[in-house]
């Protein structure tokens, strides 16, 4: 009897614990169901000026509309600002849409925009550098605001399509003591409901959204699932409608599965070898050029990235409006590589390369090691967990090379400046690539893509001539979708917005 009563108590306690933990739940109707999205990483913060990860945007866009938007090819489009005018290279005037309101009912007017931009340039902001050119934000009238610059900066327009352009309600920001990390209030298509860190983010359709024509699902639930295989099985088993960041190694199995499909589209995410041009081993441009020539990028793409992407001929992908000109081609020519090394008087070159310790990057590192061995160069692969790799390379500068990624930026000038100008954080040599500053200055004179293109062509040529990095491949954006998801559209940034998506 004693045993039975103890076991009985155990079972009862278990059930009780289970039921208690389950309390307060509620089901959801199938009629107006939420879109369930498996995201690879949680938002680092829901306050646009405080976050730090490129993966945040997918979770932020539904809550925050941006002043400027972009089309799938990353050209600027009207957003909360319905038009803009470049009064002079140092003066950008934005005309706002009328009648736009934040989720808390506050009006989105010129004062609100000024508040937001001042906030992004002020204390506690992670994105002060994006707006470094802005001297002052001037309110002209209720619907017009003008950005006065210290020096021309044409990237500003697309900066306003990024974090800096995500408008938060000034009233909510003031009430939250300036930090909206956990209680975001924007003017996007969906308003915030609940955030369970590391688990899920829920948003619901905002009834007073300004764009009444666009399809919007009743709500979106982002489920945070860091493991790539689990994201795939979760989608296939019907737990998710959309699964972000499918690994290239899982793409085939997803394509052959029923009830789901794979959305594959190009994006600006570049896999590359960062180089320290001030290092002893890789200080000579001729040596860097030789190493670049020894790389067979087709093989890297096929074996390293399962052919899910395109070969990189620079910092920006083909098909992008700012793509490098046709004259810039990173050829594969091992004979020429050997000749250049001999000419430079180098033999038995050996250098360290830090590598992000994930299976894909390690695989690519092995391929590069093999290809460089063919011209008599030895590379010592140093696998490191990603934070340590970043720290060891960019801060402590422990090795002359790092195999990693560049997640891209909305404006091409940001990419060139951050990687190749003297003050760019991602340029460990602290010396500008010869000719880059002049080229970028040329691209800063206008905000029109066609007028900026020659400047970017010159930048791509300057980079090609100096070989300050080894671009390898642009890995496509791979997103899994259930068959009943309609209207999903990727963009070159690889950060989809969910406007226009519906169930069908």
């Amino acid at each position: 009897m004693m045993r039975r009563s103890r076991w009985g108590a155990f079972v009862a306690a278990t059930l009780l614990a289970t039921l208690t933990a389950c309390g307060g739940g509620g089901g959801s109707s199938d009629q107006d169901k939420d879109l369930k999205v498996a995201a690879a990483a949680d938002a680092s913060s829901l306050d646009p000026i405080r976050g730090n990860a490129g993966t945040d945007h997918v979770l932020l866009y539904p809550i925050y509309d941006t002043l400027v938007s972009f089309d799938s090819g990353l050209e600027a489009e009207p957003g909360l600002a319905e038009s803009w005018e470049q009064v002079s290279p140092t003066e950008l005037s934005l005309t706002l849409r009328e009648g736009v309101a934040f989720h808390d009912g506050e009006p989105l007017d010129a004062e609100a925009v000024k508040y937001n931009l001042d906030r992004a340039m002020g204390e506690g902001s992670n994105i002060q550098a994006d707006l470094a050119a802005v001297r002052e934000v001037r309110v002209d009238d209720e619907q017009t605001v003008t950005l006065l610059l210290d020096h021309p900066d044409a990237s500003l327009l697309l900066v306003l399509a990024d974090r800096a352009g995500m408008m938060v309600s000034p009233k909510a920001a003031e009430e939250a003591g300036g930090d909206l990390s956990t209680h975001p209030v924007g003017a996007g298509g969906w308003s915030f409901v609940e955030w369970r860190r590391g688990d899920s983010l829920k948003v619901e359709r905002f009834d007073d959204y300004w764009d009444t024509d666009v399809d919007r699902v009743a709500g979106i639930t982002f489920n945070i699932i860091p493991d790539p295989k689990t994201r795939v099985t979760s989608l296939r088993s019907g737990q998710q409608d959309v699964s972000m960041e499918i690994a290239p190694s899982d793409a085939d199995s997803l394509e052959s599965a029923s009830g789901v499909s794979l959305d594959q589209s190009p994006r600006v995410n570049l896999h590359q070898v960062y180089l320290n041009r001030a290092s002893e081993e890789l200080g000579d441009p001729q040596v860097r050029r030789a190493l670049s020539l020894a790389v067979d990028r087709e093989v890297v793409l096929k074996s390293g990235y399962f052919d899910r992407g395109s070969v990189a001929h620079g910092a920006l992908p083909d098909g992008y409006w700012a793509a490098p000109p046709e004259s810039v081609v990173y050829e594969h020519d091992p004979q020429e590589a050997e000749r250049l090394l001999a000419e430079a008087g180098i033999s038995g070159l050996s250098f360290d390369m830090i590598v992000n310790a994930d299976s894909q990057t390690t695989r690519v590192a092995e391929i590069l090691k093999e290809q460089w061995a063919e011209i008599g160069v030895t590379v010592n692969i140093i696998p490191r967990e990603i934070v340590q790799a970043t720290n060891d390379y960019f801060n402590d500068r422990k090795a002359p090379a790092l195999l990693s990624q560049w997640t891209g930026r909305p404006d091409p000038a940001m990419t060139y400046r951050l990687m190749f100008s003297a003050e760019g954080y991602f340029n460990t040599s602290d010396e500008a690539v010869p000719g880059i500053d002049e080229a970028l200055a040329q691209a800063d004179q206008s905000v029109e893509p066609s007028e900026r293109k020659p400047g970017f062509d010159a930048a791509a040529e300057a980079v090609y001539a100096d070989t300050p990095f080894f671009p390898l491949a642009f890995q496509d954006s791979l997103i899994g979708l259930r068959d009943d998801v309609r209207g999903f559209e990727s963009n070159l940034l690889g950060k989809p917005k969910f406007l226009g998506v519906s169930f069908g």
Binding site: G25, A53, T233, E385, V387
Partner: protein, 314 residues
């Protein structure tokens, strides 16, 4: 009264262990290479941002001061705030812990439901082909990595047969029934290995019990086998059973890290992984603190149960 004294003594002796555990973790995590400021600055790292973050974190204070501040807070229930998000760590733990606890209870039920009867049956048929088959299977069971088992269970029972929800499903707060169904496969993945271990331990304890004099006497007196095995012999084998259950709890906490990742569950296992990737020291420390508390509590329960099960132990 005797039990109260036992509990009191055990609690007191657990405190130094707990403090030692937190001290070791505190020092070890400082050895994790990689600057937390780099993790926090992420894609927006600039020299200015990094300097600001380092200052905000106050990582320049002495280690002794940092540890004393932390431990005095922890002992009063304040586990500090997360570097990454500024949120209260206690709240974060309370949000993630229930799922892991429920998963562990499920896994223990699975482990006991499999291990106990099989161990008893195996002991009754010692050295037969049935016994050898079970012992060999148990050895395989112990050797199976639970993440692999988890993936296989998902493929067979969630994707192909559709009997259980796939990973990343409903959360406990929104659809408890579905969420609990979603815990069945991870509980099996976690519990099967424990079941194999329990099976082996119960078998050897029962083999010993069944060969004792009093069992022979029971048999001679004509007591039914069921009564001999389940009432008398099993009770005398319950000490090793209690011990192995205690060990299983510690193992389950460790394995939860992997199994939660495979099944897309947000418990404290996945919290530990996220925090380590982000160098969120306060959160890592808190997770280890909570895990150490659970293990110490389990040991306490095992200690007390020894005394309940066998009054001769003082």
């Amino acid at each position: 009264m005797r039990i109260l004294r036992v509990v009191g003594t055990s609690v007191l002796s657990a405190i130094p262990t707990l403090i030692l555990a937190t001290l070791i973790v505190f020092l070890l995590q400082r050895l994790i290479p990689g600057d937390p400021a780099v993790a926090i600055a992420g894609d927006y790292a600039t020299p200015e941002n990094l300097a600001r973050i380092r200052e905000d974190l106050g990582l320049d204070g002495s280690l002794v001061t940092q540890y004393l501040t932390w431990i005095s807070g922890a002992l009063t229930g304040d586990l500090g705030t997360s570097y990454q998000t500024g949120e209260s760590i206690s709240a974060l733990i309370m949000q993630r812990l229930p799922l892991t606890l429920i998963l562990m209870v499920f896994a223990l039920i699975v482990a006991i439901a499999i291990g106990l009867p099989l161990g008893v049956m195996s002991a009754q048929k010692v050295d037969t082909s049935f016994d050898r088959f079970l012992t060999t299977s148990a050895t395989f069971g112990i050797a199976i990595p639970n993440f692999w088992l988890g993936m296989m269970l998902i493929i067979v029972f969630a994707l192909n047969l559709g009997w259980f929800p796939g990973p990343g499903g409903a959360s406990l707060s929104e659809d408890p029934v579905e969420a609990l169904r979603g815990l069945v496969l991870p509980a099996i993945a976690l519990g099967l290995v424990g079941g194999a271990e329990i099976c082996r331990q119960v078998r050897s304890a029962m083999v010993e019990s069944l060969s004792t004099d009093y069992v022979r006497t029971h048999r001679a007196k004509g007591l039914p086998t069921v009564s001999i095995v389940w009432k008398h012999a099993l009770k005398n084998s319950s000490l090793p059973f209690a011990t192995i259950l205690g060990i299983q709890v510690s193992r389950l906490i460790g394995s939860a890290v992997v199994v939660e990742a495979v099944f897309g569950l947000s418990g404290i296992g996945s919290l530990a992984v996220e925090a380590t990737n982000q160098r969120d020291y306060g959160v890592i420390q808190a997770v280890v603190f909570v895990a150490a508390m659970i293990i110490l509590l389990t040991n306490l329960i095992v200690d007390v149960s020894y005394r309940l099960l066998d009054p001769r132990i003082s």
